[in-house]
Every structure is written in structure tokens, then in C-alpha cells.
């Protein structure tokens, strides 16, 4: 497959990144596909995550381990790794071991030796790595990694909800979004875009994505942006000369200002420093231009080259302007339901407790087992069930007859203070429990209201 993602791609998101997950689901609505997130992995809690799909609220499954995520959702073969700089490595290596197809790692500041180890492991397993230190990637109209493309308004303006004919790859995550917009304004927009990240040894190379785009029939032209530092452009130039890249390649390497600085400046990206004169932006731009890439004089010249290249492709009949799809409306105001049931589910043919159909509980015929499932959302061991049953037997006589005492005990067991526990007991008093007390109180109150003296009340 030469595009990374399709409209049926499913992802596992490592880390409870609510906003990013919601952005992915919003993209899915705009692209007219089903939710692209299968589940979240959160090592601390498996409480499901409230999310919206369009206007409809639903609970996204959360599991504690990647192992469980892979077992429960075997069709989800993309891992979006929001783990921190320190733990990102373990997640990537486990993802590779569990045969995830694409792993995108967002964290910045991962040690170089770690990323290089990932690369070796990923080559062995055929895993595609994106990042670290990136926002991710997007296949227009199909799938978005995390925050790629930004807010809804901007991703619509950048035409990420439907496929164009341009393949984009660059280092910077932030600039990728700027480039998606620029490409959308001067051509039919991107088919796919990848930000490989600003580190010195990113998990995948610019060239690997360019070669994928070369293979992909829906892509007619390629745009790449790079930065000062590293020598990968030499490989790209070689591929151009060897005609392994024949589609128009528009390229720009940023960082021409570095030579004007009076001191060493470490740019915002870890890989953005020149170890030798061959790694300067000037040298790399020249090299690419000589090899046949379309390189503007300055960054500001990119839109013109993109427009010209696209118009030429259009004139030759190789591409045509796409139809603009009618976009579904995303609700501007979303309100979460206040009460949600994570226990029973009465949708579908048969109601379930947890994920077990009610008929199963009926078949088992055990009240305690049913209660355990409903209260703790789990199957208790036989020992625990027996213990609970004993308790139930011991308090079985505590029916309506002693409901007040029982409720006082319940309130106290819930760690309420004495007065609250007492009130709970007293307020339970009604016609069928403590009826005499209640009736007496009413009689006294009534007599008092009528101004009856005690003696008169008694004789009445």
C-alpha cells in the first residue's frame, strides 16, 4: 500500500489525550467515515472516555495495556503514541513487537540512541515509524493522526477532508499544517502529508515517503520541506538523478539565515544544526536543484512553483480539479450527558450487564454474581461470591421491618458522619416502617394545630 492510511484505518491512542482524540473523531465526521479510534490505552485507569461523534456522545473503550488493546481490537494497526519523552521508547518497542503497522510518536526530546534503536527494530518488522518530535501525518479524506491539521475550521480550509493530488513530506509538525494550506490554495490539495519530526535521526526519512508517493497513482506531484542539518538531501538528489523519482518534486530547505548569525544558534528543532558545510541550507538547496528538484529562490517562492506545477499537470490532462464534497455540519455546542451508564446497555436485541447478555445471568441463577457484575463491573472469584452470599443471608431478615436501622448502617458504612447516618435512618420512617411513630407524630401535630389540650386529645 503506498498511502499510509485509508478510510477504514483504525488506531490505538496511547495516552488519554482527550482533545486530540476528539479532533480525530471530528475529522472522521467531516471525511464521512466511521470513528477512527478503536480505543485508548491508559496505564492508570480503564474508565471509558466520553467523546463525541458528530452530535452524538459515546464512550470510547479504554484499556490499561497495549497487549489488551491489540487483543481486543486486532484490526487497529496504527499506534498513536502520546507517551512522554521517558516512556515513549518502551511503547514504541512494544508496538513493534506486537506488529503494529504504523507508529506515530509525538514526544520531543527522545534520546538519539533510543530512536536509532527503534529504527533498527522497525526495519526488521517492517513497521513504519513517524516521529518522534512531530504532530504526525494525515491522509486527506481518510485518517488523521492526533492534532495534525489543527482545528476544524483550518482543516476544512486546507481541504484535508477530501483527497487532492499532492504528496507532502517535511520535518516540522507546525509547518506541515502551513504547507497543507498553501498546497490547498495553489493546487487540488494534499493526498497525504507526513511530518517526520525535527530530530537528527527521525524514525522515517523524507526519502522513504517521497518514494511511496512516487509509487502511489493518486499522487501527481510531491512537495517536501526540510531544514538545515543532516545529509539526507544527498540521498534524495541521488534518487532524482537515478530517475527513481520522476514525479515533479518541489523542495525547500530552511535555515539560510544560520550563516548570518554572530554565534551558534540551536534552532527550535534538535536536528537543526549544521555539522559541516554540506549540511547548510544553501548547500542542500543547491544540491537538490542541480539534481532536478524544483527549488524556489526563497521560501516565499513556493506557492508560485506549486501553482505552476499543478497547472501544467492539469493542462496535460494528468490531473483535474476535484469535486468539493458537501460537508456535514459539526455541532458548535456540545454538552455532555450528566448521567451515563457504563454498567448495563439496553441497546440491541438483548440487554447486557457489562458486556454479558442478561440471559447468561438468568441461566447462572446467582443473585450475588449479578450484583457483583453490576456494582464492580467484574466477575468475582467463587470465594468472594460465597462470602457475599453469607453476608446476604446474615442480613436477610433486615427487610422493611428494620429498614431504618439498615439505612443508618448503610449510610455509616459509606463513611457518612453520625448525624447523617442517623438522619438517613429517621427519614426512612414511613407508613410501612415505623408506622406507629409516624401516625403518633401526625396526631400530635394535628392536635397542636387545632389548639387541643393534651387531655382533650387523649379523651377524643
Amino acid at each position: 500500500m503506498s498511502l499510509l492510511f485509508s478510510p477504514t484505518t483504525l488506531a490505538i491512542v496511547y495516552g488519554r489525550k482527550m482533545v486530540s482524540v476528539q479532533r480525530m473523531l471530528d475529522f472522521d465526521v467531516l471525511a464521512g467515515r466511521k470513528p477512527s479510534v478503536a480505543c485508548i490505552v491508559d496505564p492508570v485507569s480503564s474508565a471509558p472516555q466520553k467523546t463525541f461523534f458528530g452530535a452524538k456522545e459515546f464512550l470510547l473503550p479504554v484499556v490499561r495495556t497495549l497487549k489488551e488493546a491489540r487483543e481486543r481490537f486486532p484490526q487497529a494497526d496504527v499506534l498513536i503514541n502520546f507517551a512522554s519523552q521517558r516512556s515513549a521508547g518502551a511503547v514504541v518497542l512494544e508496538g513493534i513487537a506486537r506488529e503494529v503497522r504504523v507508529i506515530a510518536t509525538i514526544a520531543e526530546g527522545v534520546p538519539e540512541s533510543d530512536t536509532r534503536q527503534w529504527i533498527v527494530e522497525a526495519q526488521r518488522s517492517g513497521t513504519t515509524l513517524i516521529g518522534p518530535a512531530t504532530v504526525g501525518a494525515v491522509t486527506a479524506g481518510a485518517f488523521r493522526v492526533g492534532d495534525t491539521g489543527g482545528s476544524t475550521e483550518h482543516l476544512i480550509a486546507s481541504k484535508l477532508h477530501r483527497a487532492g493530488c499532492v504528496g507532502y513530506v517535511g520535518k516540522s509538525g507546525g509547518m506541515s499544517n502551513e504547507l497543507y494550506r498553501m498546497i490547498a490554495e495553489h493546487s487540488s490539495g494534499i493526498a497525504e502529508g507526513v511530518a517526520i519530526g525535527g530530530d537528527r535521526n527521525p524514525g522515517s526519512t523524507l526519502l522513504s515517503h517521497i518514494l511511496r508517493y512516487q509509487e502511489e497513482p493518486s499522487i501527481a506531484m510531491i512537495v517536501m520541506t526540510s531544514e538545515i542539518g543532516g545529509r539526507e538531501e544527498e540521498d534524495i538528489a541521488k534518487a532524482l538523478k537515478e530517475k527513481r523519482i520522476t514525479k515533479p518534486l518541489i523542495a525547500w530547505v530552511a535555515g539560510t539565515s544560520a550563516e548570518h548569525f554572530p554565534k551558534d544558534v540551536q534552532f527550535g528543532h534538535a536536528g537543526a544544526w549544521a555539522a559541516s558545510s554540506a549540511e547548510t541550507a544553501q548547500a542542500k538547496n543547491q544540491l537538490l536543484k542541480k539534481a532536478g528538484a524544483l527549488v524556489p529562490q526563497r521560501f516565499e517562492g513556493l506557492p508560485e512553483i506549486i501553482a505552476k506545477t499543478y497547472e501544467a499537470l492539469k493542462a496535460s490532462g494528468r490531473v483535474q480539479d476535484p469535486m468539493e464534497p458537501i460537508l456535514p455540519e459539526l455541532p458548535s455546542d456540545r454538552r455532555s450527558a450528566h448521567v451515563q451508564c457504563t454498567i448495563s446497555d439496553d441497546r440491541g436485541a438483548e440487554a447486557t450487564y457489562g458486556s454479558t447478555p442478561i440471559s447468561q445471568f438468568i441461566h447462572d441463577g446467582s443473585l450475588v454474581k449479578t450484583l457483583a457484575r453490576l456494582w464492580w463491573k467484574t466477575d468475582l472469584t467463587q470465594e468472594a461470591l460465597t462470602y457475599l452470599e453469607m453476608i446476604l443471608v446474615a442480613v436477610a431478615d433486615h427487610g422493611p421491618a428494620v429498614a431504618g436501622a439498615h439505612n443508618a448502617i448503610v449510610a455509616a458504612s459509606a463513611d457518612k458522619d453520625t448525624v447523617s447516618a442517623l438522619c438517613s435512618g429517621l427519614l426512612t420512617i414511613g407508613p410501612r416502617f415505623g408506622g406507629a411513630v409516624d401516625a403518633a407524630a401526625r396526631a400530635f401535630f394535628d392536635a397542636h394545630a387545632r389548639g387541643l389540650r393534651p387531655k382533650n386529645l387523649w379523651t377524643q
Partner: protein, 414 residues
């Protein structure tokens, strides 16, 4: 953070203190005295008695190469002679490769008689480490292309013994020890040029190393209190230190380098990639000396962080009497909240407004909540009577640079 060079003294101390037991036989003889700005030269022989026991070699240790050619290496018969040489250079200003800095750090070592100068280096490629070796080390190793043996060592494997023995049998254990340190200490590149062998042992006559600062969190026990030096000529200003501290404490990125305090164009650009492109756009159009700083912020910093960051930059703008422009630039953010980050910018502007008479602000930024953020900033500037123009994604990213330049009457390429 990224790869950073460390001083020769720091690299040698690491090798001396962390040498792996299993290669004890190959441990090089490491003995040096370290001199920094506060070292008392008179007291030095007390801690390093060998200084007065024979010939010594002294070198400037300031993170630049070609010291022999520059006259920053001295071989002396006596410590007294070395001391006089160092006193002549100490704390003087020098310009090396266009960078102007103060010579403060020196390394002094015993002179080692040797015949042959060898070259040894370790570097990182994408999926392999590389050992480089040459029998013709010394000053002109760059011209020894053909004589350099290159041994790739794929990650996850060890260098083959037979290959190392083929280089020099006397050096095998030393190379294995150094290579293992190179890997275990997160040093992305180390170079020994030259390395010498005599009857008494192996000597690292020079050592240049870089550390991967991203690995600092797991190298605490080995790097110890390694303070990573700035490049030569990059003494950090209080403002740079303040922002670097802010950056270190934040999960987001806040970068600031003061380039020309009297420059007229200040930048605060969101995004590692965009900030480079803005710097390119400015230096391509006007005298680079007009670019006052390089500044980058990203990763959705908090309102408070943005206020502190902006405030520090405004304090520098106040000190400059010329007509100035502040470019608050950036691409279309993926997740950084424009309104929230701009609230910090506004708070800082409110603080500094009375002193910002000579400032015009030019903004181009887009992303989540951009309209609200841009509007709030524009309104705040109007209220504070600071001349300001704001743009969203409708303006090409660096077009705002041209606006700023023309407002300052800086004509392109003047």
C-alpha cells in the same frame, strides 16, 4: 535540547571516571589540570604535583578546533613557562571562525614522548555506529581521506575483534573501552586526534566529544554535575538564562537567543520550523544585524509562561532607543491555543506599555481560537496605544515580515 559539544577536560574526566572494568588493561593514562576563569594558577601545582616535574602541554579549551594552527597550543619545558603563556592569553578576547569570545578555559597535561600520531573517531549513522581510524593522525587528518579506515558497527552488535586488531593490536582494548563508553554515555560523536602509544601506555592527546542532552535524565549518575557549555562566543545574557530556565521548567518550548541588542527587528515566532523560515525571510531582505534575536515558542505554553517570556523580550526592547518592530509570527497551529497564549502576550504588553514608545507590533498567527486571540491582541494594543497590525491565515506566513520592514523604512537588500 540536542547534541552539544563538551570541553576536552569534561570529556577526559568522563573517560577517566567511567572507564569500563572489563577493558581495564586498555585504560588510557589520563592526567590533566583544568583551568577556568577562577582558577588560582599559583596554587595549581599543589593539587597537580606533576606540573613541576617535567615538560607540559597547555591548550585553550574553548570548544573550537584547529587550536594548533591558531597558536592556542603550547609545549613548554617548565610549568613556569606555561603559566606565563596562559597569563598572557587568559581572559583576552579572540575571534575564531567569526565568533568572538573570551578565552577562559585551558587544559594542561604532562608532555608525552611519542613517535606516531594516530586518529580515532566514533560517529553515529542512522542504523549503525562508525569507527574511523587512521595511522596518519594529527593536524591535517581531513586531507587523509584515503588512509582512514571506516568500520561500521550495526546497532545491537559489537565491533568485531579481528577488525579492531587489524587497526593496531596495542590499541584493541583501548578502542573497545572507548567505544563502549561512546555508546553507554550517550555521546553521539567522539574524536581522538591524535591518540599516541608508547612503551608506557596509550595517551589521548586530544579529545572532542558531543553529548546528547536529551539523555541527561538517564545519565545523571554518569555525567554527574556536567554543566554543558555554550559554544565559544555564546556567553548567555541574563535574559537568555531567564528564558532557558523558563524553558527547562516547562513542558512546552520557549527559546530565545539574543543576536544584536541594537537590531531593530525582534521576533517571537511560534514553531521550530516556522521560526527558521522567519529568520531566513528577515536575513534575506535586510542587513542581518537588524535581526535582534532568534525566538521560538511552541507546544501550547501556558498563559503565565507566555507572559514571562514576552515580558523578558519587551524589557530588552525598552533598552533599545531605535524605532523597532516586534514580529509575533507563526504558521497555522495544530494544537497550540492562540487565544490562551496571546492572553499572556497581552498581559506582558499591559505591564510594559508605558515604555514601548518606539515599538510597532506585527502579528501573523493562526490555529485553534485564532480569531478570538487576534482580536483580543488588536484591541489590547489599541487600548494601550501601541501600533499593531494582526493577521490570520489569510496572509501568507512571512508576508508580515515585509510589512514590518517597510514600516521601519528598511528597504530590502539595503
Amino acid at each position: 535540547m540536542a547534541q552539544k559539544p563538551i570541553r576536552e577536560t569534561q570529556a577526559k574526566a568522563l573517560i577517566r571516571d567511567q572507564w569500563p572494568q572489563e577493558y581495564a588493561a586498555g585504560k588510557p593514562a589520563i592526567r590533566f589540570a583544568e583551568i577556568d576563569g577562577s582558577t588560582d594558577l599559583l596554587a595549581l601545582p599543589h593539587n597537580h604535583p606533576w606540573l613541576t616535574e617535567g615538560k607540559v602541554v597547555a591548550k585553550v579549551d574553548e570548544l573550537f578546533g584547529k587550536r594548533g594552527k591558531l597558536g592556542y597550543v603550547q609545549v613548554a619545558e617548565t610549568w613556569e613557562e606555561t603559566k606565563i603563556w596562559m597569563e598572557g592569553l587568559r581572559k583576552t578576547t579572540a575571534t575564531v571562525a567569526g565568533r568572538c569570545g573570551v578565552l577562559e578555559h585551558f587544559i594542561v597535561e604532562p608532555f608525552v614522548e611519542h613517535e606516531e600520531e594516530l586518529y580515532l573517531a566514533f560517529t553515529c549513522e542512522r542504523t549503525e555506529d562508525v569507527i574511523l581510524f587512521s595511522r596518519k593522525g594529527g593536524m591535517d587528518v581531513e586531507e587523509q581521506g584515503a588512509s582512514i579506515v571506516r568500520i561500521p558497527v550495526p546497532l545491537g552488535t559489537e565491533p568485531e575483534l579481528s577488525q579492531l586488531q587489524g587497526l593496531d593490536t596495542k590499541l584493541t582494548a583501548t578502542i573497545r573501552g572507548l567505544f563502549s563508553l561512546f555508546r553507554s554515555l550517550d555521546l553521539p560523536s567522539v574524536e581522538f586526534n591524535p591518540i599516541a602509544v608508547n612503551a608506557r601506555g596509550v595517551y589521548l592527546l586530544d579529545c572532542v566529544a558531543r553529548v546528547d542532552t536529551c539523555a541527561a535524565f538517564r545519565q545523571r549518575s554518569t555525567w554527574g554535575l556536567l554543566s554543558i557549555p555554550e559554544g565559544f562566543g555564546s556567553t548567555r545574557t541574563p535574559e537568555e538564562l531567564f528564558i532557558s530556565d523558563l524553558d527547562a521548567k516547562s513542558g512546552s518550548s520557549l527559546k530565545f537567543v539574543l543576536l544584536h541588542p541594537q537590531g531593530r527587528i525582534w521576533t517571537m515566532v511560534a514553531g521550530g520550523g516556522a521560526s527558521i523560515i522567519y529568520a531566513d525571510a528577515i536575513t534575506a531582505q535586510v542587513d542581518p544585524k537588524e535581526l535582534a534575536n532568534y525566538g521560538e515558542w511552541s507546544g501550547n505554553p501556558s498563559t503565565d509562561e507566555m507572559e514571562a517570556y514576552t515580558g523578558k523580550i519587551l524589557s530588552l526592547i525598552e533598552k533599545n532607543d531605535r524605532e523597532q518592530a516586534l514580529i509575533i509570527g507563526g504558521g497555522i497551529a495544530n494544537f497550540t491555543d492562540v487565544a490562551r497564549t496571546f492572553a499572556g502576550v497581552i498581559a506582558a504588553l499591559e505591564d510594559h506599555a508605558p515604555k514601548l514608545k518606539n515599538l510597532k507590533i506585527f502579528v501573523r498567527r493562526a490555529g485553534p481560537n485564532d480569531r478570538r486571540g487576534l482580536k483580543a491582541l488588536q484591541e489590547a494594543c489599541n487600548r494601550l496605544r501601541i501600533s499593531c497590525v494582526t493577521h490570520g491565515a489569510e496572509l501568507p506566513m512571512t508576508a508580515v515580515v515585509s510589512e514590518a520592514l517597510s514600516a521601519l523604512h528598511l528597504t530590502p537588500d539595503s
